[in-house]
Subunit: 422 residues, 2 copies
């Protein structure tokens, strides 16, 4: 089974023409964001492990070649070139979990021009979403004041692949857990969940549902209390706890959550149930969390779904894969608003007192002896080391975020200085 049709038609027409025109010299493409969204102060690079897997699987199968032949566009020689295609070039990148900014290369790919041209769509598609999801997650964690944030977004992700990889990206960026079982299995991420309104509704009374659930799961009881009336639900939880049932927490999923959480907290505390946690879901994002916590609303944990997993305030990045070097010559275009910087590059980060101050994006030496964030991951198509675990990536992201300049983890816009060297 081939996977290499996950690309745009023009990558292949260009590649055929490059081969016909003898344009097969060494080329370097660079993946970077031209600008950051107004709503982001930094990005967390994410998706490199998945990209390496996809590059290794990037093959044109017989069914793919048959389809392409049927288009009537491609020569037999070119179809044979596709049949034999294996990526044998080099790939350098910043490690997953690294903080990056505008104009900084996340991934740079080197090889013969047609060999690296046809990877454009795959590389952009693989890196953009995961980096966007990790960056959105980091922003949410940044305002949550160390209260656990859990990914509930799978159902509204743009299909399953995005949902599973967003859960991984969010964990890397500091989320506590995910509801997504496939992500839990694939990446070893902690999984969590409570109950839906449908559970409550099939019992004759709400407290019957609570009792039933606690008898099935005596140790893991977070009760959804807003199906009919949130405050009445909280009173039923008080009775339940008094009857000896272990109650870990309550979840509020509708209404004016700030007001309701405050009232529920009072009901619980008045009855000596200070240990029961309040969990908020429903349209939760960094803006809601900042508002609640700024107003002292007693919420202990957040379930974030749709707005995280679609990165709804910034659902794409201005990310591109641009030819920067061909046969050793600098490549750049001058299109308005889309100017690019030539040459393979290294990112040199400067810090003071443990906080980053500014970056320089400098031309990569040959031999590559300027220390910086970019390292070689594949050389002539083969890996240069073993990939880090998800927990190692998460630890890197945590350390990177801790070294951001003051104010970058707030919702106010900050611009980080990135200097482009000659």
């Amino acid at each position: 089974m081939g996977t290499a049709l996950n690309t745009d038609l023009y990558e292949l027409t260009m590649a055929q023409s490059f081969l016909e025109q003898g344009k097969t010299g060494p080329a370097v493409f660079s993946l970077f964001c031209r600008t950051l969204p107004r709503e982001r102060n930094f990005l967390i690079s994410c998706g490199l492990s998945v990209l390496i897997q996809k590059l290794e699987a990037f093959r044109f199968g017989n069914d793919d070649l048959g389809y392409l032949a049927g288009l009537g566009t491609f020569s037999d020689e070119f179809l044979d070139w596709l049949r034999r295609y294996r990526f044998r070039g080099s790939l350098s990148a910043v490690p997953e979990g690294t903080v990056v900014f505008q104009n900084e290369p996340l991934v740079q790919i080197e090889g013969s021009l047609p060999e690296v041209q046809i990877l454009e769509t795959l590389v952009l598609n693989t890196i953009m979403y995961q980096t966007m999801a990790a960056s959105k997650a980091a922003r949410i964690v940044g305002v949550a004041r160390n209260k656990p944030v859990i990914d509930f977004g799978f159902r509204r992700a743009h299909m399953t692949e995005a949902g599973v990889l967003a859960a991984r990206a969010a964990y890397i960026a500091g989320f506590f857990a995910t509801s997504n079982l496939e992500a839990g299995k694939q990446s070893g991420i902690p999984v969590a969940g409570t109950m839906a309104h449908s559970y409550i509704m099939v019992f004759p009374r709400e407290d019957d549902a609570f009792t039933a659930f606690s008898s099935s799961f005596p140790d893991k009881s977070i009760f959804l209390i807003d199906t009919f009336d949130t405050l009445a639900g909280a009173e039923k939880i008080v009775s339940l706890a008094r009857s000896g049932v272990s109650v870990t927490g309550v979840r509020i999923d509708s209404g004016d959550i700030g007001t309701l959480a405050t009232a529920v907290r009072k009901i619980l505390d008045k009855n000596g149930l200070e240990d029961i946690k309040i969990f908020a879901s429903s349209n939760v994002d960094e803006y809601a969390i900042a508002e609640w916590l700024g107003a002292g609303v007693p919420i202990d944990s957040f379930g974030v779904g749709t707005r995280f997993i679609t990165s709804s305030d910034a659902p794409y990045l201005d990310i591109v894969y641009k030819l920067v070097e061909y046969e050793g010559r600098p490549m750049f275009k001058t299109s308005p608003g889309k100017a690019t910087f030539p040459f393979k590059r290294q990112i040199v980060r400067h810090a003071k007192g443990g906080r980053m101050t500014h970056d320089e994006v400098v031309r990569m030496d040959s031999p590559e002896n300027t220390p910086g964030l970019v390292t070689t991951i594949l050389r002539r198509g083969a890996g240069t080391g073993s990939p880090p675990s998800v927990d190692e990536i998460r630890a890197l992201a945590t350390a990177q975020i801790a070294s951001l300049p003051a104010g970058f983890m707030t919702l106010e816009k900050r611009e980080y200085p990135v200097r482009i060297g000659n």
Copy 2:
């Protein structure tokens, strides 16, 4: 290989508890949008064929069961129930390509309560994105005045699965073609593409690149003219055409496209090249198209990418999968802003003079003899007919869109009357 871990943890904890508590009676869940985004006047239902495929593949493999056992949450009895799980219930739905509105059931699933509960995440994830993509595409086509619109979004889709299915959804909604080869192969959609800036840049001069491309593809030449200077690029195209090269069109991908397209048109026309088409890409969406065409900008075709494929002005739908009936009894909750309507339902559409006027969402009779948009697709887990082809679905969508009330295909907000019967 199982695929059934593409779900949320709580679906399985609830299912285990339902089984333990004897809550295994017949249940009906309904998938619908509570409200439409402010930026959408209607939706095009899309994703049913993929949902049927995913339901058929919904199995817990040994590796999945091993993972679940390791969580320490589930009983051996329940894991065995999962091992034997096959969907054997019924599914009714509106056909793909149907215009739908708020509170109208796109999909309704019936079976024993735990059997249909655990499908929630899958059903939402599968239908939301495809319906959203088709709806965004229809809105774009609606303002494009019959000029061809082409999907260029794959690279910025939220991973490959979304990209491939968005191309299908867009074609159903009236797009002319896609750049996405995998979608072309899977769904038989026309594919199209031009060239990237990288192609131009590796040649010594821009006109060398144009000549080289036309020698590789004499019949399919759309030239990208904005790499350095768009108007100078247009002059080079004039020379190229005069030298006898067949030029189908030019593409402009940056700058002030309205002004540039007008100037390029003048250059071409002045030289007797009225037949050369102008193709616009870069940040194209329905708002840009409406502005250009409203101002008389001479663009012949549009490449839409990022803003289409992420549905960036409305990147999610307020879509839910709600229990509406259990053991023949109505199920509803009263959470503020999240009230639901009980019972399995039919959609009855009323029209006058070929234009739809209002819908009624009525309780489904038993036997089901109210004619309407909802039909049975699966009965006891088996299909009741052969699925329509993509072209048949596209034809249905075209006819449906043609019968929308006046004004619904504009960018002004319209509210369609949907009455909920008792």
